[in-house]
């Protein structure tokens, strides 16, 4: 789950990381009130989950209430790479001496936590990584040991930060590591991490991705409430289905994430374009098929539907009965093509057989079914 900047800053602040005083605003009046509270000058920042806000005109400096009104009015409603700005974060503008970069994430290859620190922050860090990889000091941390004080000092020294920043950086990096681990983040990134002329080190931005698997041990309701989903994804989320919306026209239902991904591959290989990824999981519950089929059929782009089932422990006849029961409860407008294989596939196919027709077809293999479903979509 990705957090907005203001949520990331609240998250950081809860672990003691210094961030600028500020407030959230959904209207111009709220923006002025937040600015008055933070103290001028302030920065008015668009809250969207996409990079390049500054270049798109989504980040502006304001010295008084009139300027806040002007900028807030312009930024609210702005379209930044397809994201419409609905919320602003107004914070006290900081004096900046230097800009750094700091982050923690999991290195899946090393199976350790990876910390990255650079004296060249504030810019496109990915470009720095390409052009001047030595400018990023990396540290691999064993999760059992955690980040020790001595390691943090060595790391800051390797990154060659300004000597004035060393103490502040060591303190913030240790706090950031705690936020990353105790906060169950997949990513905790500060860019830029700034050194003020006064010598203080401070997080000027916050990019945080939380691990959804850990939500049971945190109160993330507020973050969860602001997640951006399209209407299809919202419906799937409410039905507890593993769904990802795409922009094609063949609806996909499969049992298992790997098989669902593989179904997208095969549909593409025969010249089609999938409308979604949907994993109904194991079991043969008719209710799950009702929900899955309804979400897909409500998608105006969908022209045909591919149900791809491989029976394992759940037997073919159970799945076939589940599908037939589901189809009896709802009216699906797009034609459906089923491929049913695996455990007791013969018995399952026999159950489906009497229901076959123009609206419901069956094919013996994934490839045959993909060809048929794409043909039907194009017909």
């Amino acid at each position: 789950m990705d957090l907005f900047e203001y949520q990331g800053k609240q998250f950081f602040a809860s672990f003691g990381i210094p961030v600028s005083p500020g407030g959230v605003a959904d209207t111009v009046d709220e923006a002025v009130a937040a600015a008055e509270a933070a103290g001028y000058p302030v920065v008015v920042k668009a809250q969207v989950m996409v990079g390049g806000r500054g270049k798109a005109g989504g980040v502006k400096l304001a010295n008084d209430a009139d300027e806040v009104r002007l900028h807030a009015g312009n930024i609210l409603g702005l379209d930044i790479k397809g994201h419409i700005v609905k919320r602003l974060w107004i914070e006290h503008a900081s004096d900046i001496a230097e800009e750094y970069y700091a982050s923690f994430t999991l290195d899946r290859s090393a199976k350790k936590h990876l910390g990255m620190l650079s004296a060249e922050g504030g810019v496109e860090i990915e470009q720095v990584a390409v052009d001047n990889p030595d400018a990023i000091a990396k540290i691999w941390i064993d999760p059992v040991d955690g980040l020790t004080d001595a390691q943090a000092r060595e790391w800051v020294a390797a990154a060659k930060l300004n000597p004035d920043a060393v103490e502040g950086a060591v303190a913030i990096l240790k706090q950031l590591y705690t936020a990353y681990t105790d906060g169950d983040a997949d990513l905790a990134e500060i860019n830029p991490l700034i050194l003020k002329p006064s010598g203080e080190v401070h997080a000027l931005d916050a990019k945080v991705t939380l691990d959804n698997n850990a939500s049971y041990r945190h109160d993330w309701a507020e973050y969860e409430a602001t997640q951006e989903r399209d209407s299809r994804e919202q419906a799937a989320h409410e039905a507890d289905l593993q769904y990802v919306g795409l922009d094609g026209y063949v609806g996909i239902i499969a049992n298992g994430a790997g098989l669902a991904m593989s179904t997208l591959d095969v549909v593409n290989q025969v010249g089609g374009s999938p409308a979604n990824f949907l994993d109904v999981g194991g079991g043969a519950d008719a209710d799950k098929f009702v929900k899955a089929l309804t979400i897909i059929d409500n998608d105006p782009l969908v022209k045909s539907i591919f149900i791809n089932i491989f029976g394992g422990i759940t037997r073919g006849e159970e799945v076939a009965n589940g599908i037939i029961t589901a189809l009896g409860q709802i009216d699906i407008s797009s034609p459906i093509v089923i491929r049913l294989d695996g455990t007791n596939a013969e018995e399952g196919r026999a159950i489906l057989e009497p229901h076959l027709g123009d609206k419901l077809r069956m094919e013996p293999t994934m490839l045959d079914a993909a060809r048929t479903v794409v043909e039907l979509a194009k017909a």
Binding site: L106, R108, S109, K111, K112, H113, E126, D142, P143, V144, T181, D184, D186, D211, N213, A214, Y216, R217, Q242, V244, L246, A254, N255, G256, A257, G258, L259, A260, M261, S262, L264, D265, V266, V267, N268, Q269, P274, F277, D279, G282, F310, G311, G312, I313, D341, G342, T343, T365, M366, L367
Partner: protein
């Protein structure tokens, strides 16, 4: 022979008294797996359909001589369950549970490596492992796998995906090809057992003649496996990578299946495997056909 588990493996089920643990524990026993016990501190002294329940893994090991454990415990309890299994004295831990926090996984992976180097963890978030005809631990339907036969050409399977693993087993069975062991390593960010661990074991197993590998987008495990194949695997392989057409930046169900910034793409993985001499199929069926070809060549 088989890798990791065989007819001598004695398994206890942590969470045997729960609905999933009971369902699959009994199915595994029906298959022929030596299911020797379960654990639940609140139900010690009772039994599940004749399988004794113990208070802890240590007690179960002492009483039954179990050398493996299968975890069907809710995600919140997995970290403690894995450590209890290792401390209790089993050598092989299969964790079926999905939804385990990544920080827990990273922690117990490193803790095991450091304090219990001889303990192998499979999973979390995996379908388990089956050595057909000998031992089935987890949620794989045993009857879709054909037993390896002495004198025949037999295949080992290693996979990151559940349903695609079943499909691979099934297609090989339809072709009359036996499987020594099929290992589902799972799709999580820090799997206890990697492709490389399995490739190494299959390479060393004299009864495994060819290897089928099923990967997914995300991470770099397949690329690392390709490097290992190039340097250390002499047996022929076929492979399939799921998610060739998945859009970048979208999570596709498995925590591991995400493409970011051009890294971990299916194309990169397929290229690396092809360069290492692996026959890579465009879909699971094609990977199965490629394996049939390999088996025919080896039989000739």
């Amino acid at each position: 022979m088989a890798i990791f588990v065989d007819e001598n493996t004695k398994v206890i089920y942590q969470g045997l008294t729960g609905s999933q643990g009971r369902y699959y524990g009994l199915l595994n026993r029906d298959y022929g797996t030596q299911v020797v016990g379960g654990t639940n501190p609140k139900k010690a002294g009772t039994d599940v359909d004749g399988i004794p329940v113990f208070a802890s893994v240590a007690e179960a090991v002492a009483e039954t001589g179990a050398n493996a454990s299968c975890i069907f415990i809710p995600a919140a309890g997995v970290k403690a369950a894995v450590m209890e299994a290792a401390e209790g004295g089993v050598e092989f831990i299969v964790c079926i549970t999905e939804g385990v926090p990544a920080h827990d996984e990273a922690w117990f992976f490193n803790k095991l490596r450091r304090d219990f180097p001889n303990v192998r963890l499979l999973g979390p978030n995996c379908p388990g492992i089956i050595s057909p005809g000998k031992c089935n631990i987890g949620i794989t339907a045993g009857h879709i796998a054909k037993e390896a036969e002495p004198g025949a050409i037999n295949v080992g399977i290693v996979s990151r995906s559940g349903t695609l693993t079943y499909q691979a087993l099934y297609e090989l069975k339809l072709q009359g090809i036996g499987v020594t062991t099929c290992v589902g390593i799972g799709g999580d960010p820090v799997p206890g057992t990697s492709f490389i661990d399995c490739l190494q074991a299959f390479e060393a197993d004299p009864d495994t003649h060819a290897i089928m590998m099923i990967g997914e987008i995300g991470g770099s495990a397949e690329e690392e496996a390709a490097e290992f194949i190039r340097s250390s695997v002499t047996k022929p392989l076929s492979a399939y990578i799921a998610g060739q057409t998945a859009p970048a930046g979208k999570k596709m169900g498995h925590a591991g299946a995400i493409v970011s910034g051009g890294k971990g793409t299916a194309a990169a993985k397929m290229e690396a495997l092809t360069a290492a001499g692996v026959r890579v199929g465009a879909n699971p069926t094609e990977a199965g056909e490629l394996m049939v070809e390999i088996v025919k060549e080896l039989s000739a």
